[in-house]
């Protein structure tokens, strides 16, 4: 389901409420609150479109404050691409702005840095370049706003070396302790080799996109799409071209309800502790009742032993009956209340136990997501067979694919609730979170169970389960997704 689909659904819902409770303000607020917390406005742009967009900004600023386009570009890049802010800053303090943007040196009376030996002054027609130590005619020298004079050949060698190392917009003056940056036209005028020029432009464009808060490169392999959002937030983006789904703010896999910082910490922790966690990645467990070895080959965590028909939970190996809607606690980690008084060893063991609790569930849902992808293929095969047998048409079975897609969406969010819970401090808010998480998990497992066993075109029951699961998911996000 794409972002637009969700939006349009949402709007229809809102309108219904608006018409129904037209005069009741409280209810209107409620309708507002029901707005999808995941909705996000963005567009996918091609490189040429972004180039055009950036050039328009450059032109606008250069006209507004009367500087060259190249200088305007440097100002936009170093100061964050907000025209209004830069214009205000510039009008208030032009010199200060140019210093902040590293266009001019902070200290205006830098001693004319033409090295101790022979400065290229008017009465000396063959000054020495302080980089190559060669004497050259005055017209061979060039300098940035800081006044550090170097010969053209040294400038171009300097640019070449920097570009080969991947540096572009941060290329600066060659003077000692000088931080003044070289604007684009200065660099391009002095680069002779076409391949270096091409590289410089490519790297510079990459830097411009990275410094622009509204733009982000699609992280998909070999994808050159650039996503633009006018309100940059940690929300889900799906690339129109390669279909990669990622977080707009940090560019990694989408991770609601966990925030960018937390998910980074969690993934680093998982990578560090992978050896410890390796032993739990085994794919088999024994049935808690008859102890026969069971391999999990589906995504659903509600297991039924093929041998003794015992229903149990794959995660905690508890009886599935106690996982009913009333009392589902498998997702919750029970902290030892007296841990502060225990020995350091016991505390370390407890810390590991806690981490493993969350890691096991995180990893298990990742696996379930992969297994449920296979389930989707099986569903498609099954539909084909059913249609061939003339039990229902292809359209009659379509709902099953929708259900599988919804299941994947819900389980994806559920997976990302575990890092969130791991870093949450104990207290009523965590209890509420874990309660909602448990509810979501229970409904997801019900849905998964039903999808894996759907044998009729009786879709009412499944549709109902889909609605419940999605409601649980959106409630949890509404309450805990902070953007």
């Amino acid at each position: 389901m794409s972002a637009e689909d969700q939006d349009s659904e949402c709007e229809i819902e809102d309108e219904d409420y608006d018409n129904y409770y037209l005069s009741n303000e409280e209810e209107l607020e409620l309708a507002d609150y029901k707005k999808d917390p995941e909705s996000f406005q963005y567009e996918c742009l091609k490189v040429e479109e972004v180039e055009k967009l950036l050039n328009e900004l450059v032109e606008l600023l250069s006209l507004e404050i009367n500087v060259t386009p190249s200088l305007a570009k440097l100002l936009l890049h170093t100061l964050g691409w907000s025209i209004n802010e830069i214009v205000c800053m510039f009008r208030a303090d032009a010199h200060g702005t140019l210093v902040t943007a590293k266009v001019k040196p902070a200290n205006n009376n830098v001693p004319k840095p033409l090295m101790s030996h022979q400065p290229p002054s008017l009465n000396n027609n063959n000054p020495m370049c302080p980089v190559c130590y060669a004497h050259q005619p005055v017209e061979f020298f060039k300098a940035l706003a800081c006044g550090h004079q170097f010969c053209k050949e040294c400038w171009s060698s300097h640019f070449e070396v920097q570009v080969i190392e991947g540096v572009s917009t941060s290329i600066g003056c060659m003077g000692q302790d000088c931080i003044v940056l070289a604007p684009e036209d200065f660099v391009l005028a002095l680069i002779n080799k076409p391949n270096i020029r091409e590289k410089y432009q490519r790297f510079a464009f990459r830097d411009y996109v990275k410094s622009h808060p509204q733009l982000r490169f699609c992280p998909g392999p070999n994808c050159d799409i650039i996503v633009r959002s006018k309100e940059p937030m940690a929300k889900s983006v799906v690339c129109h071209q390669c279909k990669s789904r990622f977080c707009f703010k940090c560019g990694t896999d989408y991770h609601a309800p966990t925030d960018c910082e937390t998910i980074k910490r969690w993934l680093t922790k998982c990578a560090d502790d992978s050896e410890t966690a390796n032993y739990i990645s085994a794919h088999t467990k024994d049935c808690p009742k008859c102890h026969i070895c069971i391999e999990k080959n589906g995504g659903c965590n509600h297991m039924q032993c093929y041998n003794c028909k015992h229903d149990f939970c794959w995660m905690c190996l508890g009886d599935w009956k106690s996982h009913g809607s009333e009392y589902y606690e498998c997702s919750r980690y029970k902290e030892n209340p007296n841990i502060a008084y225990e020995s350091v060893h016991a505390q370390a063991r407890e810390a590991l136990k806690k981490y493993l609790h969350y890691y096991e569930r995180w990893e298990n849902h990742s696996k379930s997501l992969r297994l449920e992808e296979q389930t989707l293929t099986r569903i498609k095969d099954r539909i084909e067979v059913k249609v061939m047998e003339s039990s229902g048409t292809w359209i009659d079975w379509q709902y099953l694919i929708d259900a599988a897609n919804l299941l994947a969406k819900c389980r994806y969010t559920l997976k990302y609730t575990y890092p969130y819970a791991y870093y949450m401090e104990s207290g009523p808010r965590k209890e509420l979170f874990e309660y909602q998480q448990a509810q979501l998990e229970a409904e997801i497992e019900n849905l998964s169970w039903k999808i894996e066993r759907a044998e009729t075109t009786d879709r009412g029951d499944l549709q109902n389960q889909m609605d419940i699961a999605e409601k649980r998911r959106s409630i949890l996000l509404k309450d805990f997704l902070e953007v």
């Binding site: 840095p113 090295m115 302080p130 980089v131 190559c132 130590y133 060669a134 550090h148 170097f150 040294c154 060698s157 300097h158 070449e160 070396v161 920097q162 003056c173 060659m174 003077g175 000692q176 302790d177 000088c178």
Partner: protein, 199 residues
Amino acid sequence: MANIATQRIKREFKEVVKSEEVARCAIRIDLVNDSWSELRGEIAGPPDTPYEGGVFALEIVVPETYPFNPPKVRFLTKIWHPNISSVTGAICLDILKDQWAAAMTLRTVLLSLQALLAAAEPDDPQDAVVARQYKEYHNIFKTTAQHWTAVYAGGPNRIAEYENRVTRLIDMGVDELTARAVLSANNWDLERATETIFS
């Protein structure tokens, strides 16, 4: 080696030879071979530091792209300093990395290194063990640096007590270099050093 690099090095070489620092025996540069791509540097330990009285040899490798890239410099003489590896002699100094500017010279590099010996930056360490000692046991750091200067760089203050402990470890069959390094890293605690070596 590129033309400009050789030309620069030749000029710089002359500059250092003629400079006033050479007159004061503070810095020195020698050629290693005819190619001008490898040089040997020397700096004197700055006064009023634990390195006073020592002379430290440096390996200087001049890259093809010099002076647009910095020279590669490391200490050949062993030295006890937070920003210099006590094992390899590798140096953590910004002007030898991203703060290099083409207008800098070998002379400025050597003078910067001398300044680094006088003012360590323990928060940006190359050698974490030394940096920790510098911050937590500054007196031990100072005597250790003095001792290393005496042993490896010809400084005046060889500390007898430290030498005794090194000898004790040598008697146990440990080689001298390891013995001194491990003792230094363990704040000269003989027991802990023994434990580190034999466990």
